[in-house]
Symmetry: C2
């Protein structure tokens, strides 16, 4: 039993209306591993880092059941670096710097015992890299979840469409769903994407929650209304990590379990934004997550009588 997770491990410099953080630990793979490891172990991490990546961060994740046999360390290289500034609305941001560094030569190689995971989380990366990981698997996983972004639709659309045919769940935000499908209505967008060969589509809408589409079924998850957002970075990755980690712990990927996993992912994402970087993901306990899940239950519950 294992969860294979592919994503970046990186440095971020972030400025938001709530403050600044310089060269803190980030990357989709880091956020996913911290979120998923609340529910499931081992996580087999697939990534690439430079000699500058702190051993302490690796040791902390290893203590959480994350395996590093497929994390390539380029001793004389520098880790991926991203710098961005969030606008007053916290929904939009400007990228200030992107230094690919070691990511430019990322060509993941799975050790033998990583080639038959039960679940696979393909974090936001070049579609060809995501596909190359799937190509190395020796048996079909029970569940493959893929995250992507508009950048890959701009520069690698055909590769993205190819890898989408091989996954079970696509996690995407609303503007990306519209771009990928060419439809404004999210219901129509989801149908177009399902027709591309993805049975299940999750459309994230930031402060408006998320929509889950599978077959003809739809689930609308609320977002926790938050007065105090410090840093939205990694919230989408934390959501995906919480989603697949909780599903992995259940071992059954029914529509009802996916609904529950979206709430768990949303709860973890709502913690993630409370501080810069992965700090809150490190601090929170499973009990904290449980309390936040109950807050989601209270937030969304209603009972209509007499109609």
């Amino acid at each position: 039993m294992s969860l294979l997770s592919v994503g970046t491990m990186a440095f971020d410099s972030i400025e938001s209306p709530a403050g600044k953080a310089e060269r803190i630990i980030g990357g989709s793979g880091t956020y996913i591993a911290w979120a998923a490891s609340h529910f499931y172990r081992p996580i087999h991490q697939v990534s690439i880092i430079g000699g500058d990546f702190p051993q302490k961060e690796i040791a902390e994740l290893a203590a959480r059941g994350v395996g590093f046999d497929a994390v390539e360390e380029v001793k004389d290289g520098k880790s991926f670096f991203w710098s961005g500034k969030y606008h007053e609305d916290m929904n939009t941001r400007d990228t200030l710097v992107t230094e690919l560094n070691v990511l430019e030569r990322f060509d993941p190689r799975l050790p033998q015992d990583y080639t038959h995971p039960n679940l696979v989380m393909l974090g936001n990366l070049a579609p060809d890299v995501q596909a190359s990981v799937l190509n190395q698997l020796t048996q079909k996983p029970e569940l493959i979840v893929l995250d992507t972004m508009n950048f890959w639709m701009d520069v690698a659309l055909e590769s993205l469409k190819d890898v989408l045919k091989r996954v079970d769940v696509l996690v995407i935000n609303d503007s990306e769903a519209r771009q990928l499908s060419g439809r404004h209505s999210l219901v129509e967008a989801a149908a177009v994407i399902q027709n591309m060969g993805v049975p299940c589509v999750i459309i994230k809408k930031g402060e408006h929650g998320a929509l889950l589409f599978e077959g003809k079924e739809i689930f609308a998850a609320p977002a926790m209304p938050l007065a105090d957002v410090h840093d939205p970075t990694g919230a989408g990755d934390a959501f995906a990590g919480g989603f697949i980690g909780y599903l992995a712990s259940l071992g059954n990927y029914s529509f009802n379990n996916k609904k529950a996993a979206i709430i768990v992912g949303s709860a973890i994402a709502s913690f993630c934004v409370e501080a810069f970087g992965v700090q809150r993901l490190k601090e929170i306990t499973k009990e904290d997550i449980g309390r936040r899940v109950h807050a989601f239950e209270r937030l969304a519950a209603f009972d209509v009588d007499g109609i």
Copy 2:
């Protein structure tokens, strides 16, 4: 027992990506009355019309339990007229024509038996007109709901703030809540508006549903994901009408009942947009609304185990 409803009765010409409709019946008062009369009668309508307003429309509403003793008919005047065009996204629109006509001289006078309603729905109108209706009441209603729009924040902010102190529930959309409060976060916006003297604030987010704030409680209602929107005109009025009509039928305005009433209002609004004007509000039955409410229940239900 009665529900007093103040709003326009008008003609609309509407163009949307789904088609065109010329000089159809519209106006906030018309939509509110059609929506609320599914649940509660009598509705005492307060409005002003020209000699051009069709008697047939009045007869249809009268048959639904709507009283017209406070609808002033200006025989030689023309009814309020609005014309607009919706963009491809159906969320934004351009106003092409606004002819106030008889609305310019609207100075509502309540007959004696309209002066002690149980509930009051103040549809979107000049705040001074809304206040003048409240000034004529001889006893405090059990519930006053007010709808408004950004236009009144631009031209009559102090009057609006004065009348807000006298109402129980404000219904407003997200951009209006941000304008009125000066806050981007909707949680903060609601708190600022509550501090203006409104105990309960409902923030409508269009395709993203609605948020209800009362005291420290929050409820997040989903919107029905719709592939086929013909005409968004009046959806907000239909929501408000369904909300107050259903609450009136319960006779108890607890937080839980307000949550249910938001779902009922959302269900009615989801019918409203399926065709131009009030057509769908005329066609649907209480059973149709019940089925749509159950669809909302299925849409929003989840159950998280084991955390």
